[in-house]
Structure formats: C-alpha cells, structure tokens
Symmetry: C2
Subunit: 330 residues, 2 copies
C-alpha cells in the first residue's frame, strides 16, 4: 500500500526562491522538496537563513509548509501545497560543536552533508586528492545524527569517507543528489561500489539533473537519463532510488562562485566548470523547473518501469525513507 502512494518528492533544490517558483511546484504536483539552507555558512549565518524561511512560510502560506516528519508530505499534498524540508550541504553550521547537531534538528534541519567539496572536520570532500575517511569528530557526529534523526548526506563527499559513513551509521544514509560515475564520470558522481553499499544498508540515492552530472551535460536527453535510472535500478534495487534534481533555478552566477569558493581560497576554484565556463550551465531542455516532473514520470513508464515503480522513484521511496529517518532514537 505504502509503495503505491502517489507523491512527488524532489530531494534537493537550491533555487532563488520566489512566489513564481512556489507556483510552479504546485503546477508540477511537487509535494515535498528538500531545500538547501547552507553551503559554507556558520551557525549564526545559517540561523539567519532559517529566519528567512520562517518568513517565507508566513508570506506564502498558501503554497508552502514546513516539513518536519514524513506525514507532512501527505498533509501538504492534501492541501495542494509543498512541504519544505531543510538540509545543509556542509557541516559548517555545527562548527566544532557536537551538541549543535541536536540544536539544528530542533530548528527543523533533516539532512546534513558531512563534507562539501573540501576536507571538513568530519569527512573528506570529492575534490580533495586524498581521502582519509571519517575523522575522530566525524564518528562522534554520526552517532549524534543517528540519535536525533538528522540524515547523513554524502552527496559531495569522497569515496572512502562515504563508504565509512555507510558503515559507521546505524541508520540508512542518503546521497540526495548524484548519478552513477559509470554513466558519467564526474568527481561528484558515485562508484558502483558506493551505490551498492548504500542500497545494501537501506539508503537512498536521488538522481541529479544538474548538467555537470549528466552524460553530454546540458545536451543529455530525457530517454538517456531514464535509461540510466533503469540501469541503476538493476544495480541498487527499485527501493533505493529517487530524484534529487539539484535544481538551481534563477540563481545568479555569483551563487555558484560562493558554492565553489566560499571563503577558503584566494585563487578562483571553478569546480565542475572552468575559466571559460565559470557560471551555472544551461539546464537540459526537458528539465527547466518544477513543472517538468510529470513528463519525467511519463518517460520512466516508457523505458519500462511499472506504474508502481514510477511512483516509488518519483517520491514513494523518499517518503518511506523520511518515515524511517526523521524520528529520534532517544
């Protein structure tokens, strides 16, 4: 029964939020979105970002509601609204304080990456040359995240750190937005070893629609993308896959510069881009905003998934994962 619930969940967006985008979520039938609250912000800056969201929930209460537990997705859907779940793309908000994990959960945060592109206090990012795995503090933080129900997200982390996070975490973890490296060999995409370990532990991957993660980048076709989904379903099992689009709609290029450079470098880091293509890449023609989700679900049927399987991929699996993940253990 649960698996046939018809919900659409996108497990990663970082748009330049506006009423127009909230309207598009409704038009696309998107019931829940995991939104990014920080990239490099410290705790104080992150709280300011949360305050901005609290105002949005007041100002656009006809469109969006705070998402804290899985059932908020169904409540939002019934009301024709979208539930917004908060996540960090880095561990910078907890600074060096393990007790800040619980504070962040109390403030509504449900996902935290243990590292962004660089080495963090907890784990290694995918752009470092060396990956020593989970640090001493990292082990403490994983245990605390497990306790309070804050999901470990390793989307931007390096291989060994990711495998160790899967191993050390007593609860399933997520890679909210990435694709298989075997399909498109970007540093941000994941090895088959990681994807299989993730599935074996009950974890989830969200397929990314960010062009740098796609075969042929912005020219990737919808059938190619859906064929990759089918291929990954074979590897991981149908229960462990979903969508995490990494949609960065309406953002100026200064935002991607902040993501890549933060305050940590005096050189310019181009990340997945280059000095000739320093900004956000163009999205694929078939995925420009939240209104494009229904066509994606339709194409998944075309490549051979059943209706039940498409429901799982488009949101049912994330809903199940939310049910298992956001509760406190003690």
């Amino acid at each position: 029964m649960l698996r046939s619930e018809q919900v659409t969940i996108d497990c990663l967006q970082y748009c330049n939020w506006s009423p127009a985008i909230f309207d598009q979520m409704a038009q696309g039938g998107v019931d829940a979105v995991h939104v990014t609250i920080c990239y490099h912000e410290d705790f104080g800056e992150t709280v300011q970002n949360l305050e901005t969201w609290n105002r949005r929930f007041q100002d656009y209460s006809d469109r969006i509601v705070p998402g804290r537990v899985a059932e908020d997705v169904l409540t939002a859907r019934a009301a024709g609204k979208t539930a917004i779940f908060f996540g960090f793309q880095n561990c910078s908000p907890i600074e060096d304080d393990v007790d800040r994990v619980e504070i962040c959960h109390q403030l509504g945060v449900r996902f935290m990456q243990l590292s962004y592109n660089n080495q963090s206090l907890l784990a290694t990012g995918c752009y470092e040359k060396e990956d020593p795995g989970i640090t001493r503090m990292g082990r403490q933080v994983i245990r605390e995240m497990n306790r309070v129900g804050l999901v470990i997200d390793m989307s931007h982390s390096a291989e060994r750190s990711t495998l160790e996070a899967i191993e050390y975490s007593t609860r399933p973890i997520a890679i909210t937005h990435a694709n298989p490296a075997s399909w498109h060999p970007a540093l941000r995409n994941k090895s088959d070893e990681v994807l299989k370990a993730l599935a074996a532990s009950g974890g989830m991957v969200g397929f990314s629609l960010y062009p740098h993660h796609l075969k042929n980048l912005s020219d990737c076709t919808l059938p190619d993308f859906c064929a990759m989904v089918a291929d990954t379903a074979e590897k991981m099992g149908i229960d462990h896959i979903g969508i995490g689009s990494d949609l960065c709609q309406d953002q100026p290029d200064s935002v991607v510069a902040w993501m890549r450079n933060g305050r940590w470098t005096r050189d310019t880091d181009y990340g997945e881009g280059s000095s000739s293509i320093p900004g956000f890449p163009d999205p694929p023609a078939w995925f420009r905003d939240n209104r494009d989700f229904p066509a994606l679900g339709q194409e998944l049927l075309t490549v051979g998934f059943s209706k039940v399987e498409v429901r799982q991929i488009m949101g049912g699996n994330w809903l199940e994962f939310f049910r298992r993940s956001f509760t406190r253990e003690n």
Copy 2:
C-alpha cells in the same frame, strides 16, 4: 655576534597567568615567551582572549610587553621585562576564511598550528588514525601565512601533514613544543625524518618539558633531558633547536579537559592521559616554573655544549628565527 646574544626565549607556555608568574619570568631571566591564545576557540572567542591580554599589558606594564617583531625581545630584556608573543594551537580562529589569516597577524598573532590533535580544515592532527596531508584550503592558508609572516607550527600535527607543510611552505616553519619520538615514543613527539626535514628547511624545534613528552614522564631527570638535547643537536644541527617548555603552570584540570575534548566529542578523550590519570601530570622536580631556566642552561654546559651553543639553545636560535619569520613578504 648574533649567535652570542644572551637571551632566554621559551617558545610555548599556557599558564594560568598571574602577577606571580610574571614575577617568576623576571626572576628566571626569561626575555620572551610564546603564549597560547586558543585551543578550540572560534574567532570571536579568540578576540576576547586577545582583549584579556591587552588588559594584562596595561595592568602589568612593569613586567610584560607585547611582542610583535624580534627586536621586541631585546627591548624587553633591556628593560628587565618579558615580551609576550601570541600563538594559536589550532586553526579554529580563522574558521573557514583565508582572509582571517591577515586579520590575526594584524592583531599580533605570530604562530598558528595548522591542526591540533584532530583533523582540521587545513591538516591532520597526531591523534587521527589517517593522515591525508595538507588539504585544499590548507595550501591556500600556508601561502597566506607565508605572505603575512605568520609562522606555521606543526607541534600537534601528524607526520605526513607536517612533512608537506615543510615542503609547501616557502618560509621555515616551527615545531614549537615537542621532543624526538626516538627518545620517547609519544604520539606528540616527532620522527627523525620530520626533525631532519625541519632542519634542512631552516626550521626550528622547541624541546618540551611537558611530562607526557619526556622519557620516564614526570621522573625524567635533567641530565637525561640534556642528553636528549645533545643527541638531537647531532641530528638537526645546533642552529635549529630551542626550548618550548609547554609549561601549564597553575592550570586546573578542567583546562586539560578543554584542550583534549573541546566541543567535538560526547565521549571523554583522555589524550596522553588515561581515565586513571585524567588531569595534568606533575612537572619534573627540576622544571616547575620560569625560575628554573638558568639551571637548565647550566646543565647544558655540563653535558658538553659550549657557552655559545647554550646561548643558541636557550634563546639565540629562536631570536634569529623570529627575525626571519615575522616580517611581511608583501
């Protein structure tokens, strides 16, 4: 001429500062001390610690003066006072901001460790199981420290990170407080490979008198200690050794708990101690406070160093290093 300058410099203390201790510095003829300003403090907390020192410079102006350039040591000595040079035992005050390096130098800081016992954003600490070397941000920060004249200190860092810091830094670095691991195999002590690379690059080691770094711990004898100094002089050359006592006089055990645990763990980390010996160890009977420096110099003569060599070890080498290190490159 320079080498025969008679100065006494201790390149690491973290005492519970009081007028009594400042008096003892004068009685021991200590002309300059590198004092620790932070272990885990963030930038704001570190600024508060600097404010406390600024008040001390006013309140005890008859005893202590701020140390910013090497010549401040000689000025202090001529006035019968002690020059206080600031250092960080961790990179926590610069947070994730490479531009904070220059700010800290402007505030008077002259030494910064790239990591304490744990992995940092820049390098690895000696208690981590894995050491991936200098991180992406670490390379940026080393370059910036070189530019502004903030000395890289690797006292608590792990082997590979230390070797890479020596390699990547264009200016000589310091290990302000540690002993050879070949003499006493503590995690905090340094391999012959590190000590030789340090010397070859023009760097300095300061010998520690902290019991956990000494053979036979608190029972270490003064002749044993001085024999180790002589042995290390053979390995590194007489120009690259000095004193960094790690004196933690009058500190309550809560302070060593802060050093080890900061805010990063919910378990108790005992560092070099254990659950049965959780606090500060007793100092050796022959090194209890700043008044014990003259006897240490005397014993170095006894083990066979010349008068000039003893002057180098007791402060002359650090003075030379200060001259080369604290100036801006541009």
